[in-house]
């Protein structure tokens, strides 16, 4: 390192130097240089956004609607979000002051943490989980405390696991069911169980329910719909997964006004508003997108059934993921670590998966496979994985 680099380095914040780049990045770089890769590493739908949604956005551009919107988002969109949440999950949020449209659910997570975490506050994070939670907690000076889950309990979080990590510094807990990467879901009774502990210790809940629509065997239960939880929960969701709109970067947060007002303060300075054309697309998605969304959901469920059965057939232990579009099989029978397995599989068989350890504690020994890819690709991936496992196990 040169002297000038060191000098530059001291100009970086302690916070940013504390966090590491995502472990997914390395696999992306590696896979990008290779040919004939079948990727099960993609964390987004394989459908393009439904045409009527794209067309609505084109129409808004044609009408010249290219200016800012209100900081909190178009009123029409907030109203649609509010009635969508009411109809589907039975939760009430006033569109005027309890809903905020964000640049993807990712911004929502960041806003929620920035608005609530003081330096030194401990935030419990149910893991394995989406890669951004812990780094974002660290960035605002909070202390991420992992709460591990395991295949033994189908990656559902247990109340005693939460309880034994609560200290007098614990501010809140981050949850995300259906889960990326495990596909796990929590049914009503299980949520009520953990809610007792959460309420007893007066914790704040940041609930990332971006995969809420993609629940296959039972209706998704939204955490704020559980008694005593609405007033302490910041709900985060968006359009990326259910409406295949990842590139639009459009999400929302909903919660008690005290939180949404605080988040709006940050959002108005940092972001102004979410993209206007994306907001028009989202209105169309909520108004007329249900059928397409249901069709995509059926297709994910069918591919899930196929893929999980196929994984078991080639000898990998895998719980039945109730939601999202990921399978999270155990690869311990190969004797390899997650990283070794993923790297060798990529180099030798050109199949990209994401090693489970990058998603935090409880992830080691597993790989994340996204089944949001075509059936022929899934078949071919299974064929190659089968060959790989047989060779590895000798």
């Amino acid at each position: 390192m040169t002297v000038s680099n060191t000098r530059q380095q001291v100009k970086l914040s302690d916070a940013v130097q504390r966090i590491q780049p995502s472990g997914i990045r390395r696999f992306f770089d590696l896979a990008s240089t290779m040919d004939n890769v079948i990727s099960l590493g993609v964390g987004e739908p394989d459908f393009a956004t439904p045409w009527n949604v794209r067309e609505a956005s084109i129409a808004s551009l044609e009408r010249g609607i290219t200016s800012y919107t209100a900081n909190a988002g178009l009123m029409e969109l907030r109203s649609e979000i509010s009635s969508y949440l009411k109809t589907n999950f039975g939760t009430s949020y006033s569109p005027e002051n309890e809903v905020l449209v964000t640049v993807g659910a990712s911004e929502g997570i960041d806003l929620a943490l920035r608005a609530t975490v003081n330096p030194g506050d401990e935030i419990l994070i149910v893991e394995p989980c989406f890669v951004s939670y812990a780094p974002l907690v660290s960035l605002v000076g909070g202390v991420p405390i992992p709460v591990p889950t395991s295949i033994k309990n189908d990656f559902k979080v247990l109340s005693e696991e939460i309880e034994k990590r609560i200290t007098n510094k614990t501010k809140g807990i981050m949850l995300s069911y259906p889960s990326n990467p495990t596909g796990a879901i929590m049914v009503k009774q299980e949520l009520e169980e953990i809610s007792k502990v959460i309420i007893e210790h007066d914790l704040l809940v940041i609930s990332d329910e971006i995969y809420g629509e993609l629940s296959y065997d039972s209706v998704h239960v939204s955490i704020p719909s559980i008694e005593g939880m609405w007033e302490r929960t910041i709900l985060i969701s968006g359009f990326s997964k259910s409406y295949a709109m990842t590139g639009w970067r459009l999400g929302y947060v909903a919660g008690p006004e005290i939180y949404t007002k605080a988040m709006l303060k940050i959002h108005q300075y940092a972001m102004m508003c979410a993209s206007t054309m994306a907001q028009y697309a989202a209105i169309e998605a909520l108004k007329n997108g249900k059928e397409e969304m249901e069709n995509m959901k059926v297709s994910y469920r069918q591919r899930r059934n196929y893929f999980v059965k196929a994984l078991k057939d080639i000898g990998l232990n895998c719980h039945m993921p109730g939601g999202a579009f990921y399978a999270f099989p155990s690869i311990t029978i190969t004797g390899l670590t997650s990283e070794e397995f993923a790297e060798k599989l990529l180099l030798e068989e050109h199949v990209a998966v994401v090693p489970g350890n990058v998603f935090g504690s409880g992830g080691e020994g597993h790989i994340r496979c996204s089944y949001a890819t075509s059936l022929p690709h899934l078949e071919e991936a299974i064929k190659r994985m089968d060959r790989f496992i047989k060779r590895t196990n000798g």
Binding site: I24, S39, G41, V42, E44, V298, Q302
Partner: protein, 164 residues
């Protein structure tokens, strides 16, 4: 009809060649059960056949022309349009036939080797029928989409290989 049967039909409608084994895995059923369901749906003539969607424009040895003909007819007492419809759809040139609402009655889809072959069919066979009052023939110039399948599909996977 059960939800599972409907789902099975949608799968087969989308891809007639899909294996029973794969359907069984996707619908979380045994293969025997799926075979049984398919056999029974075939027997009830809910499933009428399995065919491929072919882009014949890529097969240069087989020139063919498709026309859609709007036909006005006089319905007959007692049988309505059905009798004349049957007389029309029995011609092997007729690929499809629909009874329509609006300014004409029957929509006939005809396939032939050349335009004159179709013209010949219209003047000699179709217009010659007693019930047929008039015909308007439209020739297809290009097929963009057929049975839900886009012929020149440019939809590639644009996603990055690995993402969170």
């Amino acid at each position: 009809m059960t939800e599972k049967e409907k789902e099975l039909l949608h799968l087969l409608e989308k891809e007639g060649r899909i294996s029973t084994e794969k359907i069984a895995m996707m619908l979380d059923e045994s293969e025997e059960k799926i075979s049984e369901l398919i056999a029974s749906l075939e027997k009830q003539r809910v499933i009428l056949g399995y065919s491929a969607v072919v882009d014949w424009s890529k097969v240069n040895t087989t020139e063919s022309v498709t026309a859609m003909i709007d036909v006005k007819v006089t319905p007959k007492r007692g049988v309505g349009f059905d009798e004349v419809a049957e007389r029309i759809y029995r011609f092997k040139e007729v690929r499809a036939l629909y009874l329509m609402s609006g300014t004409y009655d029957l929509s006939v889809v005809i396939e032939g080797k050349t335009m004159s072959e179709i013209a010949h069919f219209v003047s000699d066979k179709l217009s010659a029928l007693d019930s047929v009052l008039s015909t308007t023939t439209h020739f297809q110039l290009k097929k963009y989409k057929h049975d839900g399948i886009v012929f020149e599909d440019h939809d590639e996977d644009h996603r990055i290989v690995v993402s969170p």
